[in-house]
Symmetry: C2
Subunit: 344 residues, 2 copies
Amino acid sequence: MKLSDRKQKILQAVIDDYVADASPISSKHLQESVFPDLSSATIRNELMALEEMGYLLQPHTSAGRIPSLKAYEYYVDSLMSASPLTVEEIAKIENYFTNQISGIDEIVKKTAKLISDITNYTSVVVVDNLRDVIIEKIKLVPLGKKSALLVIVTGSGVIKDSILEFKNAYSDDYFKASTDLLNRMYIGKTLADIDLCSHTIDCEIEQYLSILQVVIDAIKRHTVDLSKRNIALEGQSKIFDHPEYRDVDKVREFMSLVSHKENIYPHLKSDNIQVSINVSNTDDKASSVSIVSASYRVTGKNIGNVGVIGPTRMDYSKVVSVLEHVGRVLDKIAFERIDDDEKC
Amino acid sequence: MKLSDRKQKILQAVIDDYVADASPISSKHLQESVFPDLSSATIRNELMALEEMGYLLQPHTSAGRIPSLKAYEYYVDSLMSASPLTVEEIAKIENYFTNQISGIDEIVKKTAKLISDITNYTSVVVVDNLRDVIIEKIKLVPLGKKSALLVIVTGSGVIKDSILEFKNAYSDDYFKASTDLLNRMYIGKTLADIDLCSHTIDCEIEQYLSILQVVIDAIKRHTVDLSKRNIALEGQSKIFDHPEYRDVDKVREFMSLVSHKENIYPHLKSDNIQVSINVSNTDDKASSVSIVSASYRVTGKNIGNVGVIGPTRMDYSKVVSVLEHVGRVLDKIAFERIDDDEKC
DNA sequence: TGCTAGCACTCTACATCTCAGAGTGCTAAA
DNA sequence: TTTAGCACTCTGAGATGTAGAGTGCTAGCA
């Protein structure tokens, strides 16, 4: 089922215009803007055909056409061309991370904000695949006799959000010794390795077993527990800019979708850029939600995912371009940081 | 200008019923529910008087009455009685913090969530007055040669979110020495003290000046910079439950108010529980927003503020009761933690 | 065979009108 | 001071009408 060139061109025009305006596209409008050499009647015939093939919908008899889900899918697969970013947008992305960047959580948050700002949609960034990141240093900083702060320094940043509480009190020396042991055991390995190799208990380890157990558990929680992941959601209020959300119930539905992380995670599982159309579970055409997601690499390894959440009538090509560019910049920054660190 | 007993009773009834229903209260309704021994005409006369005095408003001629802002103020000042919490609610509050509590940020977040859940309004918690908290320990954990994690342990928890980046590279020994120095200088003092006493530079300090400068700057930022404060906003979507937000523009306005921290901070500046009525800058009666705020104490010192944000038609007495109870529980927990620590 | 002009048809969006119901304010009497 | 009664006002829902947008179809043309 191949579309003729003219049908493709019409379909593309309908989608482009509908994405821009959110109002149904009429044959007359198409004639004026794209096909001055055709009559509106001819275009009507084509539109009718496209509707029969399932690519277009009519909200009611005397309205223009809007794209169907099938049309969006076709668009994303075949029609979409890269939408070049403006110089301002590129400059914004390039300059965004120049100031001091600290922990992973801050990078995550800033990235989400940047993407939301440029695309004008809601965005979510989640650090996910820390499993593959290499441990450079582990620190156990005593806070009291019975608690310590676990700091894990990795190639791509610092994980620093675990406060550990112990049942027993330990001396500073004990903390220090177990930190040394931890470092000897795990430097150069990945978090995933820790998950596996914790069985090899020799006599030295046995001495520090009670404290190591807590630490290892905490690390495991990092790699497994969804709720412990670094996640940032930014630009929720951007949906108010889009006319399909003129209705409170739609807004409410969107907010509830977006505020429950478990609804979003499944759509972020992609190795590359991926578009999920009609993510919400409603049939209502107008309120359907789509997610464009990408996974971010640092020095070749996946470390997290990012998603842009908006109405199905979304500017996919722009979103994809932004995600690609931001991804490149992130990778570059991380590389420079590592490089920088090694030079010292 | 004192209200007669009967007028007070009528005003209270109007407010109570309006808060519950969000629909204007008629004389007939009041007669049936509160004053079976009076005729509706008599109640009408009283309502008319109250309207003339500025306590009531009529949306239009043939509607019932709704409370004016003045009425809410009068209610909060004179009429409001403590609204006892249910056993379930008390139990929920008491048990909420039993699991492992770690850093301040987690307490902040959980508190906000708890309050939002129980009151059914949006809540915001901000840790503010860390200035008065006593420093127990300062750690500078080297991450690379040119960066370190600053950990400050205080009586009421741990501040642990500053990653410092230095211009120069330092050795581990240097980090250790400056940490020792920092501790000798600041243990037992408050953050506010640091703000003041940083001038007293003797020769020993001079040696570590370049690193100390960065640390002290970071600490100062903690006490001054709004954006570095720990803040949690929870239950934004609760407004959808309230009928005054059936309109997207109202929701949008609320969201934009709530998502700009600087709009909220000024209303959280109170030593005790305080009610700010009509916080938003619109004249529209129906959409006006109010904030109930309280400051939270730990072992007698103010450490933060909490605010409950909702429509002016808010169940003030319930909100106040919840805030009071949560405040007591928080104080108790912090006390136990400190006690616990000292025993070891 | 593909394209086009013309026209009847359908549907929406908006304005206007009507009408029942709710609630009031006022008056006169108890 | 309270009450019964009544006229008055306003809302909100439904019905009706109209202009405009856009279509589908048909017949004729290249």
